[in-house]
Symmetry: C2
Subunit: 337 residues, 2 copies
């Protein structure tokens, strides 16, 4: 039984373990500081496919395949599959995962989709709807650039506040069987949509930081804990600018997270990397860093109690053209060992 | 605790009741045979807004408002809100629902989103993650036409197999409190993605029928029941062509549903209605007919045991341009009184 604690937070029993997790990234991500953490690196941006969209689908197929293998289970054992991505109508998920023939529930929370999917999969396992559930999310620089910005060949300039969509995917298999050697999902906070009126689509970090601050604050209040209770606090892809803003917003609430905070978007790329600017972004950013780096550290007990907060900007190119603000959301999971 | 029965089906206790449900439709839908069933009719296609997208958002706002009022609860009592729509990045949901400030989990299953959201909300209630959860989905003819097909002013011709996107929305409030006067969600089957290679985006019914047949067959097998055990079997929006195909596919499996089957897309429009062709479609089709017509019949005990199967075509305009097939999905809920 899932336990509701406080306004937005739920708690799982000790039995929701992450039985397997897999990550795959592209060549630019493989040149960054986390290069040795990822399970697989694709040096071909087309991943052997004809289109960028199919390439991204293939990343999802592979991430799930790695996670299944590491969890030592087969696709037919998985009760429910939660997945999503940034492409219109989430087609990299539906095309990438259709051959697995697993009961499928598409999720959309923009770059927060990985944590959202993890929460839903954990609820399914905890509620006994299935013994095993899976989640996958992805993004691809080329498919995202074409859809959200400009044709790649155009070579558009980007302001320093812009972020670089990560080419990558991550997948987790959640299990209801107790296993002390595996990281566990202990608590989760589902975010509200927060919209402070930011309209600059080239500064998503600034738009998303208030949503992250709101969810983190709610989690601390709901659980009656504070920043010093956790070994690390990871955000999905606020980037450099959004991270600074998050520190300021949380300081106003009495929480000083800076010394124990890292942002997946800042971690994944080398600081001197060409054109990355404020950091990485995309559904594949948090997913690949979570499943490549963070969960490995937890499994090795280098970290025993971490928070992962993935943020999403719920805009579309049409709402940007219509000069609308950018509603944002952030979902949180507390992972323990 | 959610009970898993069979490969794809879950069963809820007797306590997941639909405490309130609301529907809103546009003027064309209000001219159809179900006109007296809907809670609210919007004769202004702009719903008082500047854009079609904002108009669709407003339909979501209103549908949830009606459902909350009928359930006699306020937004702050709702634990989790599940919603989705057909627009890129599901913006009619995020913009239409942001002011409610309810923990939000965006869903994407194309036209199957209403039943998917209902299943997720039921799982949250049954697992005790919240006492109350809500779901909303919508579609709007004008925002869908612009995004998926042609500018409205172009007046493009449509083949007879095409369907007409419903302007409408529906919302349900699910409650964990026992109430014998309210319809209950008893069982649900989560569908697998089914892709038989259909590529004609103007014949979605044909593409979606195999997914509907697969989910219905799985439900019958998982529950050890058959078509005659149910008062009515409603599909979301297969339209006339898809419905016929569904009968054929299920007959091959030994199930003859025709005499007890209706399709929301066929029900909502008058047969002689200009340009409707094969019937209605869109996330708002199943949602408005479910929350306007079906649930009212169940609440009045005119029907005591029904199946609602919403189907979704998981394509995008880009995958159509790339000559790809149309992967489809269908989710089922068994609603009883």
């Amino acid at each position: 039984m899932v336990k509701k604690i406080g306004a937005q937070t739920i708690e799982f029993s000790n039995n929701v373990s992450i039985a397997g997790f897999g990550s795959i990234v592209g060549k630019k991500e493989a040149q960054g500081p986390l290069k040795d953490d990822f399970d697989k690196i694709e040096y071909d941006m087309h991943v052997g496919q004809d289109t960028w969209e199919d390439a991204e689908s293939k990343l999802q197929t592979e991430a799930l395949s790695i996670a299944l293998e590491k969890a030592k289970v087969s696709a037919k054992d998985i009760g429910f599959l939660f997945a999503g991505d940034l492409l219109n109508q989430c087609v990299s998920s539906s095309f990438g995962l259709k051959d697995y023939a697993i009961p499928y529930l598409g999720q959309y929370g923009a770059c927060s989709t990985m944590v959202q999917s993890l929460i839903m999969a954990a609820v399914m396992v905890e509620s006994k709807a299935s013994l095993l559930s899976a989640c996958v999310t992805s993004s691809h620089f080329c498919s995202a650039e074409r859809q959200y910005r400009f044709p790649l060949d155009y070579g558009g300039q980007r302001p320093q506040s812009a972020q670089w969509t990560v080419t990558g995917a991550g997948s987790c298999i959640l299990s209801g069987e107790q296993d002390d050697k595996k990281p566990k999902v202990l608590r989760a906070t589902v975010g509200k949509i927060v919209d402070l009126g930011v309209k600059d689509q080239n500064n998503m970090g600034a738009a998303m930081a208030p949503a992250a601050a709101d969810t983190i604050k709610m989690f601390f209040e709901d659980t009656n804990t504070k920043e010093t209770d956790y070994d690390m606090i990871y955000t999905g892809d606020l980037g450099k600018i959004g991270s600074k803003l998050l520190y300021e917003l949380l300081l106003k609430e009495g929480y000083d997270i800076q010394s124990r905070h890292k942002d997946c978007g800042v971690m994944i790329f080398d600081d001197n990397e060409f054109d990355v600017h404020s950091g990485g972004s995309g559904c594949g950013c948090c997913a690949s860093v979570l499943c490549g780096h963070i969960l490995k550290k937890v499994e090795k007990k280098e970290l025993k109690n971490v928070l992962v907060i993935a943020t999403g900007a719920l805009l579309s190119p049409v709402t940007v053209q219509q000069s609308k603000s950018i509603p944002c959301i952030a979902h949180l999971v507390n992972i323990v060992m």
